[in-house]
């Protein structure tokens, strides 16, 4: 009986694992300067962009894949990956804005509305979405509405064509192409992603979002997102992602950069749900991502919120460089690992300006045979007077075959700094579960309640419709993990 229920859970585990049958325009496998030129040519890029790529590639060739994370996996063979794959429409489309019906179906199945007329179920405000399918952005909604406010929201490729001065100025500012192995790789081969610029004094009238979907097999996904909030601007940005269920591992190495000017604020929320592999640990996405924001000027704020439930291996540290005085960095994270998933995730808060503040709330949940690590750096540079940080890292264990680890690094070069760190490890208690059951709540619902309660501080930071999604996802990810 118990086994049957477990089976059922595991089988329905990843409901986004389907494959869209669509012809693709692909680059040959492998990585060399010709491939990079191929990608650049496909995108009709200006010379400076190609130069940026080639420089990054030459750097990357001299770099080694990092091994310090608490994860183990077979390193990808970078010559065995397809670096460009674009869905090829079955027929000539009437306009560039038209989307292949096969793709429309895919996104409808994923619950993503790329039809501006249609509101997402039960959601009051609309959300503008940039949809990235494998290597290309297939559709960006609400562009015109946003343009009226002077907001630029488009695919990265379009931004390179239409706003080269902005791309040139900001790209690589938060994540230089030499930053790390995967960032360098991304800088060389990135194919698309989202670009967003909020002009001075504008608060975005709606939430902006990117939805990433890996479909083709044997491909890697290397997208870049660049968000710039000019003086007094505000935007809340959402990111979601899924991928088909496949036996081989697929690489996702993205870069996200955020730049805030004076008094500006960017809130970036992610619900990461890449395919995690099967219950034996076969397949799944390698999620090696560099996300960093820079509070360039005074009184600005960058806030990262992430709910990480997917991927076979996660290596991800959304960070904030607090350069402007009085700037604020936040990191709120829930990372769930089940079965054989591995996550090494956390943040870096680099305090450079005076009176800078940062908050780190990390909630790790490990189940099955998984490993879940928090890794965080709080760095207070000399001259960053009155900097403050508060960190809280909690781990919740479900069962006794999984692992939870905390690696906090603190470097203080200014005496006036106040840095607090709290950490707890707890187990989901049989007592809690029995208490719930005695009130008529079954095991599954009880786990959902307890886990959502445990993550509440983080879930509260998510926009409403995202929070509901995240709660469901948490429950699904942990199904069959206790009792």
């Amino acid at each position: 009986m118990a086994n049957e229920i477990l089976e059922e859970h595991i089988n329905k585990d990843y409901e986004w694992g389907f494959i869209t049958d669509i012809a693709a325009d692909e680059a040959p496998k492998g990585l060399n300067e010709d491939i990079i030129k191929f990608i650049s040519a496909k995108k009709n890029e200006p010379e400076w962009m190609l130069e940026f790529r080639l420089k990054a590639f030459r750097n990357w060739q001299n770099m080694v894949e990092p091994e310090w994370a608490h994860v183990s996996y077979t390193k990808p063979n970078f010559q065995d990956i397809i670096y460009y794959s674009a869905p090829k429409p079955k027929k000539e489309l009437a306009s560039l804005d038209e989307v292949d019906p096969e793709l429309l179906k895919t996104f409808a199945k994923l619950g993503i509305s790329i039809d501006e007329q249609k509101r997402l179920s039960g959601v009051q405000s609309n959300i503008a979405v940039d949809v990235v399918f494998d290597s290309v952005s297939v559709k960006t909604t609400f562009k015109e509405t946003l343009a009226e406010k002077g907001i630029i929201f488009c695919s990265f490729s379009e931004a390179v064509q239409d706003h080269p001065e902005l791309v040139k100025k900001y790209m690589g500012m938060a994540v230089p192409p030499t930053d790390n192995f995967y960032a360098a790789l991304n800088s060389a081969v990135f194919t698309d992603g989202s670009f967003c610029y909020i002009p001075k004094g504008v608060r975005s009238p709606m939430e902006l979002s990117t939805y990433f979907r890996i479909n083709a097999s044997g491909t890697g996904q290397f997208e870049r997102t660049l968000i710039i909030a000019d003086e007094d601007a505000f935007v809340s940005y959402l990111e979601g992602c899924t991928a088909p269920q496949r036996d081989e591992n697929q690489l996702h190495a993205a870069v996200v950069e955020i730049i805030t000017h004076k008094n500006a604020e960017v809130k970036y929320s992610t619900v990461q749900n890449w395919y995690p592999g099967d219950k034996e640990g076969k397949g799944g996405i390698f999620n090696f991502v560099t996300k960093r924001g820079i509070c360039l000027e005074d009184n600005s704020k960058i806030s990262w919120t992430q709910v990480e439930t997917g991927s076979a291996v996660t290596w991800k540290y959304p960070s904030v460089i607090l350069k402007g005085n009085n700037s604020v960095g936040e990191f709120y994270s829930v990372a769930v690992t089940n079965n054989y998933q591995q996550a090494d995730t956390g943040t870096k808060m680099i305090h450079i300006g005076k009176n800078t503040r940062s908050t780190i709330i990390s909630k790790g949940i490990s189940a099955g045979f998984s490993n879940n690590s928090y890794r965080g750096l709080v760095q207070i540079k000399k001259g960053a007077s009155n900097a403050r940080n508060f960190s809280q890292c909690d781990s919740l264990l479900m069962g006794d075959k999984c692992g939870a680890h905390t690696f906090p690094y603190i470097e203080i070069k200014d005496k006036s700094a106040v840095v607090e760190h709290e950490a707890t490890t707890s187990k989901i208690g049989e007592d809690q579960l029995f208490y719930c059951k005695q009130r008529g709540i079954d095991n599954e619902k009880a786990i959902g309640l307890i886990v959502n309660g445990y993550c509440k501080e983080v879930l509260n930071k998510l926009p409403m419709e995202f929070a509901v999604e995240a709660q469901k996802l948490l429950a699904i990810s942990l199904e069959g993990s206790v009792g």
């Binding site: 208690g429 049989e430 007592d431 809690q432 029995f434 208490y435 719930c436 059951k437 005695q438 009130r439 008529g440 709540i441 079954d442 095991n443 619902k445 309640l449 307890i450 959502n452 309660g453 445990y454 993550c455 509440k456 501080e457």
Partner: protein
């Protein structure tokens, strides 16, 4: 309501319940008393369906159903409520959300629709008054940071919300000052009807001044060794358990 026949339960190789027989009818209040470690909490846990214990012998019928066949959540849904001796904290889950989930799960089991939010809130208001529960506690996380007395009061509040057929109160009086005791007892008495029943577990007679039992049973070493009316509680209070202990310990050896 509930009929317990020759119930044996153990944990590991340790037999804790060694042949319990008890019948509780609708409208009745039974008190179970006994020294520490005699198996009172074990009995309530076994009835509520805690899986740590192995039931090795015996049967329990609850409203015509074989109770021991049901998973814990279904026993609750059938109307069995346990006010825990040590209520559990669930951080981040508000009392309200917890109870709404519980109530709707129970309703779903009986084929009823979810209770509309408005009715639910009205019910919360009504029932929290009954146990004089501070309305702030209703929106706080389940038992988190509650004082001992608040936790016990919260148990009775939950009982009032879920309206069970059979309530087992496991030492609800311990940790309560005399005022809180009176409030809790008044609450329990108000919830009493001819259609439900209560089992009050305690080892002090004090509570029974307020919740007057129809029957009193003395549990010792996993057996009910003596039963009687409410005067038995007074007798135990006066004499202590030593006589009973001596009598049954000598029988054992």
């Amino acid at each position: 309501m509930i009929t317990i026949k020759n119930l044996h339960a153990s944990i590991g190789d340790k037999e804790i319940l060694r042949g319990i027989n008890l019948e509780v009818k609708a409208g009745e209040v039974h008190a179970i008393m006994g020294p520490n470690g005699s198996g009172k909490s074990t009995l309530s846990s076994v009835l509520a369906g805690r899986e740590d214990y192995d039931v090795t012998e015996g049967e329990v019928t609850f409203n015509g159903k074989n109770l021991l066949d049901l998973p814990a959540e279904d026993r609750a849904r059938e109307g069995l409520f346990l006010a825990f001796q040590y209520p559990v904290e669930i951080p981040g889950v508000s009392n309200i959300n917890f109870l709404r989930t519980a109530l709707n799960e129970i309703r779903a089991y009986h084929g009823q629709e979810e209770m509309p939010a408005k009715d639910f809130l009205a019910l919360v208001k009504e029932k929290s008054k009954l146990v004089e529960l501070d309305s702030k506690l209703a929106s706080r996380s389940v038992n988190e940071g509650f004082s001992g007395g608040e936790k016990k009061r919260n148990e009775i509040f939950q009982m009032a919300m879920l309206n069970p057929k059979l309530a087992i109160l496991d030492e609800t009086d311990s940790g309560l000052d005399i005022d809180a005791l009176r409030i809790v007892a008044t609450g329990v008495n108000k919830l009493k009807s001819k259609d439900n029943a209560t089992i009050v577990i305690t080892h002090y007679q004090r509570l029974l001044d307020y919740i007057v039992p129809d029957f009193v049973h003395i549990l010792y070493k996993g057996r009910i060794v003596k039963s009687g009316g409410k005067e038995l509680a007074l007798e135990m209070e006066a004499k202590g358990y030593d006589e009973i202990k001596a009598q049954f310990d000598s029988l054992e050896s």
